[in-house]
């Protein structure tokens, strides 16, 4: 999560974009507006109790202490006690209300963004790097969490306290307030500059943290290579340089705060000094009263703390806005494969037809062009060809991972675009043979394609591919928990889980992406058998990397340069002496025979 480090210009939002983000946030907050307004109301009342303290002290000086009126003093003390206690209750309640609003907002955002992510087409996922998508859901939303957990409360409280104090100061003595205004330009200019500089410094620090952590990770996970080539010292030096840059960027950001905070602090005392000078001059005439001057001086101590807090929080708010706008950006991405209004039902089985199919990513050149192919129900066809020639793209079009940019793909005579995605998934299943596993038990992993399937069905599926014994031998059987992508299973077992998953889902068409890495021979054998059992009686489209696979298929399609170069049975193609024959030649020479 720390590798996303890079900060682009998009993060520096202009005012309009910020406003748009805020409006949109407000809309998403609507379900929780009762809590939100309550929290705000409570904080306004709480601000009242905060500002009331110095005013009460000033008042006590005027009506209780100086006139030596003990009863008045007692009354005010009791009032102060009540106000302070009320402040406690109000603040506590406000914290809870505000947290509820914020956490509900975040929860909805997480669920909403994830929903968008899984609904997006494969084309979208091919375009976007997984790391970036994951960081939207994690570091970006987590950084909002920081804001929600304390920033929002502090920000609102500080803003209200600032406004409340200024109002009360003005009411106490407009004349003295006027003199205090001398500090406003200094504070305003300093705060503005601080915000700008500190934001820049903060972004730089983030960049450098990202760089340092990347370098760190690279050095640790590549340590065997580093040692194998005796590069330990050079790598340590290289890292130290990156690390020193991080130190320098940290210090640049410290410098920004190191002059700003003193300026605000000095403005505070300077204003107090001005209040003393003017108060001493005016109070001699009895207007304002001594109590008022006292309240004024006490209140002044509370003006500058919120200013400081606001300036510091401003960066947090700004980076949260940037994160939000990135997250909203993801929500705005249109889903380019969508449910048709009135989906046409698909027959249980049928032929697959590709007619004049072409496909391009975005505005790019066609990666697949003019593909015409009819795959009969129950036929087994192998796609072969060099990497990048388009064989997996054609396979993905068959499963409607993408929609073709031209032409049409039909199953049983129905254009796939007219069918519901869920139903296509029940008919046409794509099985990445390398077997991606998810956290959960082995049973969960097999049943994931058929929610509601019980252990009996899972065992039946395992038996169908001849792998039941293998998993029955596990002490916890199907309940064996997989952590970290199934590290406890061997590569062969992972592939078996993936095949059992497909057997349980029982599709009419199987699109199989053959594993490129080889297993050890015994496991290879077991997987081959399971695959054979799974393919029996189904239409199979296999992206083949091995000759043995294409040899055993009914027909072979050689895909080159985005089109079908050759099509026919293995024997015919070998006899024809074209590309396939040449590939066969190389492959068999490589073998033992």
């Amino acid at each position: 999560m720390w590798l996303q480090g890079g900060v682009d210009d998009a993060e520096r939002l202009d005012l309009d974009a910020t406003r748009a983000v805020l409006r949109r946030t407000a809309r998403r907050l609507r379900p929780y507006r009762a809590d939100a307004w309550r929290a705000f109301g409570l904080l306004v009342l709480w601000t009242g109790t905060v500002v009331a303290g110095p005013v009460l002290v000033g008042w006590a000086v005027d009506v209780g202490i100086r006139p030596r009126d003990g009863r008045a003093l007692t009354a005010i003390v009791v009032g102060y006690l009540i106000v302070a206690s009320a402040g406690y209750v109000l603040y506590r309640w406000a914290v809870v209300s505000l947290a509820r609003v914020g956490e509900n907002f975040l929860r909805d955002l997480r669920v909403g963004v994830f929903d968008r992510l899984v609904r997006q087409s494969m084309a979208f996922h091919d375009r976007n790097r997984p790391g970036v998508l994951v960081s939207r859901m994690t570091s970006d939303i987590d950084s909002l969490g920081e804001l929600v957990q304390f920033g929002l409360l502090m920000f609102t409280a500080a803003a209200l306290q600032l406004i409340g104090t200024i109002i009360v100061l003005t009411m106490l003595s407009p004349m003295m307030m006027l003199v205090c205004l001398i500090s406003v330009p200094v504070v305003a200019v300093a705060s503005r500059k601080f915000q700008r500089d500190s934001n820049r410094a903060y972004l730089a620090v983030r960049d450098h943290i990202g760089d340092t952590l990347s370098a760190l990770q690279e050095g640790i996970s590549g340590v065997r290579i580093v040692q194998a080539f005796a590069r330990e010292e050079l790598e340590a030096e290289r890292f130290a340089r990156t690390n020193d840059e991080l130190y320098r960027s940290h210090m640049a950001s410290v410098k920004v705060a190191a002059w700003y905070l003193p300026v605000i602090d000095m403005a505070g005392t300077l204003t107090t000094a001005a209040a003393i000078a003017l108060g001493g001059y005016l109070a001699a005439d009895g207007d304002p009263s001594i109590g008022t001057v006292v309240a004024f001086i006490l209140l002044l101590q509370r003006v500058f703390e919120p200013v400081q807090q606001l300036s510091q929080l401003f960066n947090l708010v700004q980076s949260a806005t940037a994160s939000l706008s990135k997250v909203f950006g993801l929500l705005d991405e249109e889903v380019d494969i969508d449910e048709p209004e009135a989906p046409r039902p698909l027959p249980a089985t049928g032929d697959l037809e590709l007619e004049g199919v072409r496909f391009a990513y975005g505005d790019g050149p066609d990666v697949v062009a003019d593909v015409d192919l009819r795959i009969a129900d129950g036929e087994r066809i192998a796609f072969v060809g060099p990497t990048g020639a388009g064989k997996s793209t054609v396979a993905k079009l068959v499963a409607r991972f993408y929609d073709p940019t031209g032409g049409v793909v039909r199953f049983g005579g129905v254009d796939l675009r007219d069918a519901s995605p869920a139903e296509i998934r029940r008919r046409v299943l794509v099985v990445p043979q390398e077997g991606h596993l998810f956290a959960g038990s082995i049973g969960d992993n097999i049943a994931m394609a058929s929610p509601g399937a019980g252990d009996d069905e899972v065992w039946a599926a395992l038996r169908a591919i001849g792998a039941a014994d293998r998993f029955a031998a596990f002490p916890d059987g199907l309940a064996t928990e997989l952590v970290d992508g199934g590290g406890r299973l061997s590569a062969g077992e992972r592939q078996l889980v993936s095949l059992a998953r497909a057997a349980l889902a029982d599709p009419a068409v199987l699109v199989l992406d053959e594993a490129t890495s080889s297993l050890d021979p015994a496991a290879e054998h077991e997987v081959e058998d399971a695959l054979e059992a799974l393919m029996a009686g189904r239409t199979v489209v296999v992206i083949a990397h091995r000759l043995s696979t294409s040899e055993r298929s009914d027909r072979v399609a050689v895909i080159a340069d985005g089109g079908i170069a050759e099509l026919g049975t293995h024997d015919d193609l070998v006899a024809a002496g074209g590309r396939y024959a040449a590939m066969f030649e190389t492959w068999s020479r490589a073998g033992v025979s």
Binding site: V77, R100, E103, V148, R231, F239, M266, M583
Partner: protein, 594 residues
């Protein structure tokens, strides 16, 4: 992700945390002394302000002296306090960031030198968190030193002045304040587990996102979108629950921290007001008390937190020290022997003599059987040998012993007549070129990656290595050629291209022994074919060990050695073994078609 086996060990480790902290502070002592000095000046100026305000009220506002001298005095004290506030802050952070940077570089350099067996049992993420999260906590405490000294002095100074004015009122005013300190500490203690809970649940949520996005082909291929959606909703609910739990902790303590000083102010007004009425106190002194009480809140709150943070820093220090105190197990010999100069075809002879080795990393199973048992094998200079055998037979272990990633338990391995343990590590590793199945390339240009073993290699050497590895054509076809950047933000290459770069990297230093560990099993047959084409020239005049399953690759070698359960069961040429050896045929059987 933060802790692991590291935090389980107990007492002696704790001393390490303190020792590391003491050492870090000593190394930074001048900066810290400077920060403490700045804190002293800041404290003096800051404590003076309320006193000056009090005098102003008593002598000028309620008295008849002129106001402006007092105003000037307040302004001057404020200016001094402001300037030193800035200096203190800068110095405090500078100290901490220096310590952080210093220790991160040290950790990294140390990790680069630590033996492979250490890295085998320690997850990358765990080491990352030592050099990141733990170090953050550790440096935090360095920042706190001058700030804490300043805070403590503020408390002492303010209380001392208050006592000179009215001891009784001082007691009334500050009696409740230590509670702020206690509450602050309790708050930290209570909040910490709640925050950890949020982090834990967030990590689980991230896990679901991660597995879904990286396995999107499986999710979509099997139509499992709803299953993943339901998982995510559960995790999102868990995060919310934990976050609200943390919010309730905040709701309980934060208002309390505000309340305690307010009660102090009420008490000051009540008792102080009576004192003024009775003539025992002036109005200015009452105001001064008010200002002092307000001044104490922040330092007391921080002092409460400092203890909790200190404890966490020491715990983090322990985990850092644990890594730094681990000594590299594989090191240069005291009196290294020099290798004879490399002469193609005449150097690079290897001799395995009764080699016994096992991975003794699993603490629960110290009696794990050795992977290699009494292995004897002699490879002539310039010879090429294929190691073949089922998974777990020990062939990859041979590859790892050769660069001394591990040391043998018994027996010896000799390169050109010298025991590997008598050679300087850098000499040995320069003499042995390695290509692994998992190609790991570093961020940087293609040139940097090929020249990894020898950063000063001239361009023609780099080109030659690229050509020998069959990588030159595709590199030159790239727009930026050898300057093409790889990695996170650079170009991503195909498996076959990466593999060829890894071979070029192994060749650049012209090693006398080349070792290809399953280097081609992850690439498709077409690419493997291309790599194989390049191998003949590569192997000429160089001792080569190839570990492979595919017959065509095996056939490249002069001699095949069949390993099973840590022993050699047959040797001979590929053709001989095929003709005579049942076991060999069985091992190759399923590969035969491809």
């Amino acid at each position: 992700m933060t802790t692991g086996a590291a935090s389980e060990t107990t007492t002696p480790v704790e001393h390490r945390g303190w020792r590391l902290l003491r050492r870090a502070l000593l190394e930074q002592r001048r900066g810290i002394a400077f920060g403490v000095a700045a804190s002293l000046v800041w404290t003096a100026a800051r404590v003076a302000v309320p006193r000056l305000v009090q005098l102003a009220i008593d002598r000028s506002i309620t008295g008849d002296e002129r106001a402006w001298p007092y105003a000037v005095a307040v302004a001057v004290a404020g200016a001094v306090s402001g300037v030193f506030l800035g200096i203190r802050r800068y110095v405090a952070f500078d100290n901490a960031r220096r310590v952080e940077a210093r220790y991160r570089s040290r950790l990294f350099a140390h990790l680069q030198r630590l033996h492979v067996a250490f890295h085998d049992v320690t997850a990358t993420g765990e080491l990352m968190s030592r050099a990141n999260t733990d170090l953050q906590m550790f440096q935090n405490v360095v920042t706190m030193v001058p700030i804490t000294v300043g805070n403590a002095l503020i408390v002492l100074g303010a209380v001392a002045i208050m006592l000179t004015i009215s001891p009784m009122l001082t007691i009334v005013a500050v009696a409740g304040l230590p509670i702020v300190n206690v509450v602050g500490r309790r708050f930290s203690q209570k909040l910490h587990p709640a925050v950890m809970g949020v982090q834990r649940e967030s990590a689980e949520l991230a896990g679901v996102v991660e597995e879904t996005v990286s396995g999107i082909r499986a999710v979509k291929g099997f139509g499992a979108e709803d299953v993943q959606r339901a998982k995510l909703a559960t995790e999102a609910d868990d995060v919310r629950r934990e976050a609200l739990r943390a919010a309730h902790v905040r709701a309980r303590y934060l208002p309390l921290v505000e309340l305690m000083p307010n009660l102090g102010l009420v008490a000051v007004l009540a008792y102080g007001g009576w004192l003024v009425i009775d003539g025992g106190l002036s109005v200015g002194e009452l105001v001064g008390f008010n200002l002092y009480v307000a001044m104490l809140i922040q330092p007391l709150r921080m002092l409460g937190m400092v203890i909790a943070q200190g404890q966490r820093a020491v715990a983090a220090g322990e985990r850092i020290a644990e890594v730094l105190d681990t000594d590299p197990a594989i090191t240069d010999p005291a009196r290294p022997v020099a290798l004879p100069a490399h002469r193609p075809g005449q150097t690079g002879g290897l001799r395995f003599d009764g080699v016994v080795f096992g991975y003794r990393t699993d603490a629960h199973d110290p009696a794990a059987p050795p992977v290699l048992e009494e292995l004897d094998l002699e490879i002539a200079p310039g010879e090429s040998v294929a190691l073949v055998g089922p998974t777990g037979c020990g062939k990859s272990t041979v590859a790892r012993l050769l660069p001394r990633f591990y040391d043998v338990e018994a027996g010896s391995i000799e390169l050109d007549g010298t025991d590997l343990r008598h050679l300087r590590l850098a000499d040995l590793r320069r003499a042995v070129g390695l290509v692994f199945q998992e190609t790991f390339l570093f961020s940087g240009s293609i040139r940097d990656n090929i020249g990894f073993a020898d950063p000063d290699a001239p361009d023609e050497r780099i080109r030659r290595a690229a050509r020998l590895a069959g990588a030159l054509d595709f590199i030159e076809a790239l727009p930026a050629g050898f300057d093409t950047e790889l990695g996170e933000r650079g170009l991503s290459l195909s498996g076959g291209q990466r593999q060829r770069l890894a071979i070029a990297r192994a060749l650049v230093a012209d090693p006398r022994v080349l070792l290809l560990d399953d280097a081609t099993s992850a690439v498709d047959p077409d690419t493997e074919h291309e790599i194989r084409e390049a191998m003949n020239e590569v192997m000429a005049g160089r001792t080569t060990i190839v570990i492979a399953h595919r017959p065509a690759t095996i056939a490249l070698a002069d001699r095949v050695v069949v390993l099973d359960e840590g022993r050699i069961v047959a040797t001979g040429t590929h053709a001989e073994l095929l003709a005579s050896n049942e076991r060999y045929r069985a091992i190759l059987a399923t590969e035969a078609v491809a």
